[in-house]
Symmetry: C2
Subunit: 434 residues, 2 copies
């Protein structure tokens, strides 16, 4: 297997020196003035210490389970994992992913890449075109400053190759060529070449560029399949077959010792694993790299339904993933018998795929499952909860909500409490950088 990527553990540990204050919207004022390290030493409790609502918390047991499950499964399949860091943008979680053997961390923007490099992430797969002249100039500096920094990005047009070459040639001398993958796309989908002749032309342009090195083929199967239906899976498989054909077609052009072949969001990584680990032409030193990032928290919506390790598993050798995310919000109004308003909104929880799912009710006398309730709408700071007329839910109670699509959870929080086995004691405060 490939060697794990590295991160600057000193820089990550240094995050615990940050002082807590009003910048962190759910942190209770009783912890203000303490560093994160000092606050954690007190073993604060979500409710015991009055974290300010709304609050999104992570379940550490579920996170650890998911890290171990995905690592075991990738090892078993012979896949390197470069989880997409855009999901959490949390260096402390990247560290745990690397500790579980991740090969690298995936990025999509220069902004993300700069965060990764601030924490010394040694191997980055940039699963996107990178044509921003300022971003390329900065990248050249990073490559010059750290000879162990391994960077690979995508390209899908001859014009893109020209723009990269211009920008990188302007920064003389470049420490080493920038490694690029030809991106293969889906017709009607996102980025990526649509046909083999373009793939070949782009590859030839890369080979001709003095500042680029052709390092493999990449892509994203997501646009092929909107759901877990047989039709979607067939379209995903057809796309992955084309990815393989592109690799075979470009054989002989690759300029690196290892040929990276990468695909894989969090919905079809079982199909990606099959496609990327099937036998390659003899002598082609392929490293198959999966980029799934949402597994670390999983969810109670989109990925629960579609993940191969979700509620309808398509993989049986490892256990299902568990949702690690829960939002807590207070009931602030009960203006009608079948309506409650919660103090949580678009600023706090995702709404781009599904609305939050009411799961538990915390009252002064205890916590129990909440059935017969659903969120029907979100405003900026309010959720509308439709409740059955027999549901006992009172002003002042708190509702625990499952979330869908982790990528639009973390970007709403700069500090996320991670709770221990009691679901109450905060064992870490995870800093994000969006």
């Amino acid at each position: 297997m490939a060697v794990s990527g590295r991160i600057d553990r000193g820089a990550v540990a240094g995050l615990a020196d940050e002082r807590l204050d009003w910048r962190f919207k759910s942190v209770p004022h009783g912890l203000f003035g303490l560093t994160v390290r000092e606050a954690l030493a007190r073993r604060p409790g979500l409710f015991r210490d009055g974290f300010t609502g709304p609050v999104v918390a992570l379940d550490n047991g579920a996170v650890e389970h998911n890290l171990a499950t995905m690592a075991a499964w990738c090892a078993e399949r012979g896949l390197a994992l470069a989880p997409h860091g855009k999901t959490t943008m949390a260096p402390a979680l990247f560290t745990r992913q690397l500790d579980h053997g991740a090969w690298g961390i995936t990025a999509a923007t220069v902004g993300q890449l700069r965060v990764y490099r601030a924490f010394g992430v040694s191997r980055v797969l940039f699963a996107n075109e990178l044509l921003d002249p300022g971003g390329l100039a900065w990248l050249a500096g990073e490559l010059a400053a750290d000879e162990e920094f391994e960077f690979t990005c995508w390209v899908d047009s001859v014009r893109g190759v020209e723009l990269m070459t211009e920008a990188l040639t302007a920064v003389a001398p470049l420490a080493r060529p920038v490694r690029v993958l030809v991106e293969v796309g889906v017709a009607g989908g996102r980025t990526g070449v649509r046909d083999q002749s373009t793939a070949r032309a782009v590859a030839d342009a890369v080979v001709a560029s003095p500042v680029l090195a052709l390092a493999g083929v990449g892509g994203y199967e997501g646009p092929a399949g909107p759901d877990a239906s047989d039709g979607s899976i067939a379209a995903v498989d057809a796309y992955l077959a084309r990815l393989r054909e592109t690799v075979a077609m470009l054989r002989g052009k690759f300029e690196t010792d290892q040929v990276l072949v990468t695909a894989g969001g969090s919905a079809f990584f079982d199909r990606v694993a099959d496609a990327l680990t099937a036998p390659w032409p003899a002598g082609l030193p392929v490293l198959p790299v999966l980029r799934s990032g949402a597994y670390i928290t999983h969810d109670d919506g989109f990925y629960r339904d579609i993940s191969p390790l979700g509620a309808h598993p398509r993989v049986s050798s490892v256990p299902q993933l568990r949702s690690a995310l829960r939002a807590w919000a207070q009931v602030v109004s009960r203006p009608e018998p079948d309506l409650a308003l919660l103090a949580v909104g678009k600023r706090d929880v995702p709404y781009d795929i599904d609305l939050p799912e009411p799961q538990v009710l915390r009252t002064p006398t205890g916590t129990h499952g909440l059935h017969d309730a659903r969120v029907t709408a979100l405003n900026d700071q309010h959720a509308y909860l439709a409740v059955g007329s027999h549901t006992r839910i009172a002003v002042g109670d708190w509702v625990g909500l499952g979330l869908s699509h982790p990528c639009t959870v973390f970007d709403k929080w700069q500090l996320v409490p991670l709770t221990g086995t009691d679901g109450e004691t905060v064992v870490d405060l995870v800093r994000t950088f969006f």
Copy 2:
């Protein structure tokens, strides 16, 4: 007119001492290590200095125009303005609103209130129920620490009054009673009492509470009217009439010298002005307070269409508002004749009401209007741009996008460049706190 609210100008000015680095996703690396003040002294340019894409920039001329327009209109109508700060969460913009005569700043959550107080905002209208025990304990401390801090929040249930009373009584002795308004709601809408008997019961509970003072009546007309149709406006007017009736009914119960009556999002503030400034019963010392917040940037979507000072103005005494928001994103892929992919996504621009509107194209040879193009979808980091087959748009070009719903723009940016009259030179870097 009412006296303007205050803010700690030293604390706001201190934001210019913050150092620029990788935490701010659009800031060019050439400015890293400088303070905001030092960076601005260089008069950096959005494109000249390679701000990293995507970037959302504010047009200072439009901001100033909107500030002056709204201030003039409120003064003419005899309305106090407490703009909702949730829109921008930017102390520097709050300062400009207060400089233009704003009476206070409106908040919706404890997290927002803590930010306001960190910058010494002296008068806060909390347009929401506040029942969080930790938040109330913190509030009691703020009231004790600053005798000039004026705080008013809403309540819509007897249970809410009880919970506030319990939490505030636990903090002995409270410096002064917390001022509360009875919130009037819309049937099927959000928070707020639905009938006059509940309004009376809540008011009586407030009067009976030793720690609360009944200070007026508040509400939000938004749920009554989804659009600018005659039917919506009639429903808004009917709601506002009920708000007035509630004030009249509660006459004699108010415990403060001034009776606050407040409504007003950014869609119907003309109707709110009419309702709140019509003659009140003799001897009732009403201060009508409008809370519209989106006016400061206006937009190119929802508010352009619905605002009384928008593209279909219902107010003629002052000019229309102007959109101050524009996102810039690079074209990273042109994989099909009618499709371009932009490096901007859900992490950068709003998508909860409308998708961004392509407006201008910046090519190596100049900038011109972009017609025959529209955004059809957003992923986390990509926008899908459908283009007419005759539209010349190339990989590497930049697209300027109008935005809809400012409340979900600012929460995606910690630092927003404000450009001068050339639309290029950055004259301020506006810090937000979400």
